[in-house]
Symmetry: C2
Subunit: 215 residues, 2 copies
């Protein structure tokens, strides 16, 4: 059980968690080596990651599966939920709103906000779409922790400023733009264009590179 934890490890923990929960028959024990093989990762890396959140590993035996799941969930803070709002009820915003999968991660989406009168008042998956004017007030009153930004790039900074001013501590930014925030606020960019560039480049390089084995 370590003091600080790297961002990369933190990103892998939900992957382990999902893997452990999805095991076909629930074995009593599981080794870091087995997890590494199952996920195609380096076994030392898995062992180091797990050591950061658990101290239940026993040589020759591995981890008790149930305990490990509990340890990771505890570390990730899944015992108490974070409340969130979505700003921007376009296609992506509505998809996230009605996604449903976030409840599993204890993310409680309270409502969505938009400026489009045609959208305001409508309900998706039981969540209301409210006028943007009410964003600041609602975030402040309900102590919202996470703001999810799915507005067009040019509106993102303005929305971000409102969220930060209302005490939101973390921003999940789907807008393809850089957001300026005070240092105590964390911005996690979900940059689709960046991922797309990596994919697209891989394809074009493969076509040109004779070492790839194509042709």
């Amino acid at each position: 059980m370590n003091e600080s934890i790297s961002k990369q490890t933190l990103r892998r923990l939900p992957v382990y968690l999902h893997y452990l929960k999805s095991l076909p028959e629930h074995p009593c024990n599981i080794s870091a080596t087995a997890i590494a093989q199952g996920l195609g990762l380096n076994d030392v890396q898995v062992r180091k990651d797990l050591a950061a959140v658990s101290c239940g590993g026993r040589p020759k035996v591995g981890y008790v599966c149930e305990e490990l799941i509990a340890d990771i969930e505890c570390f990730l803070g899944f015992d108490d939920a974070d409340s969130a709002v979505i700003v921007g009820a376009g296609n992506l915003g509505r998809a996230l709103l009605s996604y449903g999968g976030f409840e599993k991660y204890r993310l409680n989406i309270l409502a969505a906000f938009d400026v489009d009168d045609a959208m305001i008042g409508r309900t998706y998956a039981g969540k209301r779409i409210l006028p943007l004017e009410r964003l600041g007030n609602l975030c402040g009153r309900l102590n919202v922790g996470i703001g999810i930004i799915t507005v067009p790039a040019q509106a993102a900074q303005e929305v971000c400023d409102i969220l930060v001013a209302s005490g939101v501590g973390a921003i999940w930014n789907f807008a393809p733009t850089h957001l300026r925030v005070p240092s105590h606020v964390l911005v996690q960019n979900e940059n689709m264009a960046a991922s797309l560039a990596v994919l697209s480049k891989h394809l074009s390089v493969k076509l040109l590179d004779p070492a790839s084995g194509l042709l």
Copy 2:
């Protein structure tokens, strides 16, 4: 103009591109320093990234804005489009299907696939939803480069295998699971749960850490 390029640089290039295109009034020249300030990045990093795709930078002047845009677009291969399919026409799949923003990045989504009879045959943003049985055949015939997976985790590997067998070279995986692929295929994971863990942890640490300035 460099030989190889790091994945991190590749991910930043679309960010630069978007920034350059979104500048309020189009200046003739722009320096790496200015871009760095605009995006909150280190200026040497920006300069190094740009040096990898362009050789038009002149001391004291910077880059000709239009040329730089063209250089980045050229490097990213935006002159020829990649064709793609979406597998899984649930909320997320349909959101991506009707997103529209991908055309900007020369991603041509041909169709979506699903097993749900209620979905098959429907059209979103002019794109058909086809039965999963036709996936392999269509990918092979139309030389599809990118497969976008938005099915539930337990179905993801099976879908992935079909895509790979049909010659798809890059997989954009939105399912929260690890995919096994041959080494010539690139998998880009869009792991929402991982991002969420980072955000959520930031909030819980902030609440506990007296150095954060809260309380």
